[in-house]
Amino acid sequence: MTTSPVTPYRRLNITLTNLLAWVVLIALALPAVWIVLTAFRPAAEINASPPVIIPRELTLDAFETMFGLNPDVRQRVPVESYLANSLFVAATSTVVSLIAGTLAGYAFARFRFRFHTAAFLAIMFSRSIPGVALSLPLFLLFVRLGLVNNVVGLAFVYVAINIPFTVWLMDGFFRQIPYDLTEAAYIDGCSYWQAFWRVNLPLAVPGLTTAGIFAFLASWNEFQIANVVTRSVSARTFPPGLFSFTEQFTFDWRGMCAMSVLMMIPAIVFVILTQRNLVRGLTFGAVKG
């Protein structure tokens, strides 16, 4: 960061900084690594005391049991159903909230109009309503509308929950695209819509990806509302399914770890994909308005 001369004192300082950073971050990552390792451990190692740090062998037993490939275990969790529901809800809500949120984000980024700030804030603040608070009236309304245990109803809720963050991100991404391009499009005879669709949107694809990933993960991970409005196994998504697993059976820690690993797959893929955009997406606009 600085250009001061490298003295022995400074060299020691750098070494200590590196060492400390590595120790802290390994400690931070360790709990997660432990969960993943446990999912692949032989059963005997799970509660061994003292703990077996590095597994002596890796096995897929836990996953076979989870998907019903182990004939000895009759009672099991309907993971396929949870997975299918979660995928459906997360995918549809992501697509719809991305469409609606991108349109709104563009309007906020490119136009001045009455109630511009008020409308933007109203949309943002709607995001801070806790899921717990929302789940009660939604449950009562869903009972009347016959939407309880309906994945479409749940997806609909997630669309609205994901819109604010999508609007925020897209507003920021559109602002980064130089306005000259839009101006040039107008001069060349584009309408407002064409300037959006043909000029700005293609340039905002990286932003679209980031926003989509955030929306997908938010829906994929949502627990509070899903737990209240989906009661039947056929409609449950993964998080409430995992939760009911902890309530029903005697605790199968390894089985839980295997389910956790399964549930983490989209997040792992997305975090790897977006490492760079993630930071930019969250922080632009911090310094320049």
Partner: protein, 317 residues
């Protein structure tokens, strides 16, 4: 969040080009673009919230449909019940302590970690990947993970402590007071640390070099540079991080629900778990809705506060 004016048009006013084609003018185009989002939010959050206000004024019990009517003699009965409910008061106090401790501690830790990471010379990208690992965990998974680690019999923490002889008897992490609360706070901080750190790190790396070089010339110490330059200049990033964080303070619910569910004997009861206990488990939707609205108020207050700080910090810059 970008709300103040930038170099963008009110098209006709500034003599900038406007489209000659297209039937929709500058007045209606943005409105039409916003309408889908607005309608969806009103339908899914606005209307239910209003309905919730109505329900909170009734003594509604799910098992007795006739109770869904405002008792005109005592419309605020639920709120009065809550104020006089010692469990509610404890839950509220717990929630305030929980938020104060986690948000502050998280910020301080993230600040330290971001400064450390900004100076690392060996394996930067590996370290950043390690930092992102907790982000892959859904809140419910974070809760499960720490429920397991802090489990008295099967938990890793006790297992390690017993093995190396630091303790002789297993500690009931999730049961004893105040260990239960501390366990929950640990899980929450673990979950939220990465995002805050990443934002502060991005901020630190974007600070102009010239300022630090000037400080070096003046012979400033590392600590002085941090206190006088880095920390104040990070203000917008600090408030971005805190605004994002304030949007989901209630996500701690997932963690608590699976770790202790507010127990034992309400020791780790937070306002969010108490809502669930009253409404979903005891069917008292009237009372539950009244309390749910209080949680909305808390979350909004947080968000509005940090957002205003964010706007202020940006204007100073």
């Amino acid at each position: 969040m970008s709300t103040q004016t930038t170099s963008l048009p009110p098209a006709e006013l500034s003599g900038q080009p406007v489209p000659r084609r297209g039937r929709i003018g500058p007045r209606w185009f943005p409105v039409l673009m916003i309408i889908p989002s607005f309608v969806l939010i009103v339908v899914v959050t606005g209307f239910p919230l209003l309905y919730s206000v109505y329900v909170s004024l009734t003594p509604y019990n799910l098992l007795r449909p006739d109770t869904l009517a405002i008792d005109l003699a005592n419309p605020f009965g639920n709120y009065i019940t809550l104020v006089n409910d010692p469990v509610f008061r404890d839950a509220l106090l717990n929630t305030i302590i929980f938020l104060a401790v986690t948000v502050n501690l998280e910020y301080v830790l993230a600040l330290g970690l971001s400064q450390l990471l900004a100076r690392v010379t060996v394996g930067q990208s590996i370290l950043r990947t390690l930092l992102m690992i907790p982000m892959m965990f859904a809140p419910i998974l974070v809760g499960f993970q720490f429920r397991w680690f802090f489990n008295a019999q099967a938990g890793l923490v006790n297992n390690i402590l017993l093995s190396i002889g630091l303790i002789q008897e297993p500690i009931a992490w999730l049961v004893d007071e105040p260990l239960g609360m501390i366990s929950i706070m640990t899980a929450t901080i673990w979950m939220n640390l990465p995002v805050t750190t990443i934002i502060l790190l991005a901020g630190t790396l974007s600070l102009p070099h010239e300022v630090f070089e000037a400080a070096d010339v003046d012979g400033a110490s590392g600590w002085q540079k941090f206190v006088r330059i880095t920390f104040p200049m990070l203000a917008p990033f600090t408030f971005i991080a805190l605004t994002i964080r304030s949007l989901d303070v209630a996500r701690a619910f997932d963690i608590v629900r699976i770790m202790t569910d507010g127990g034992p004997a309400h020791r780790t009861e937070l306002i969010w778990t108490y809502v669930t206990r009253l409404a979903i488990e005891s069917n008292q939707f009237g009372l539950g809705s009244a309390m749910a609205l209080i949680t909305v108020f808390i979350s909004l207050a947080f968000t509005v506060y940090f957002f205003r700080q964010l706007v202020k910090a940006r204007i100073v810059q």
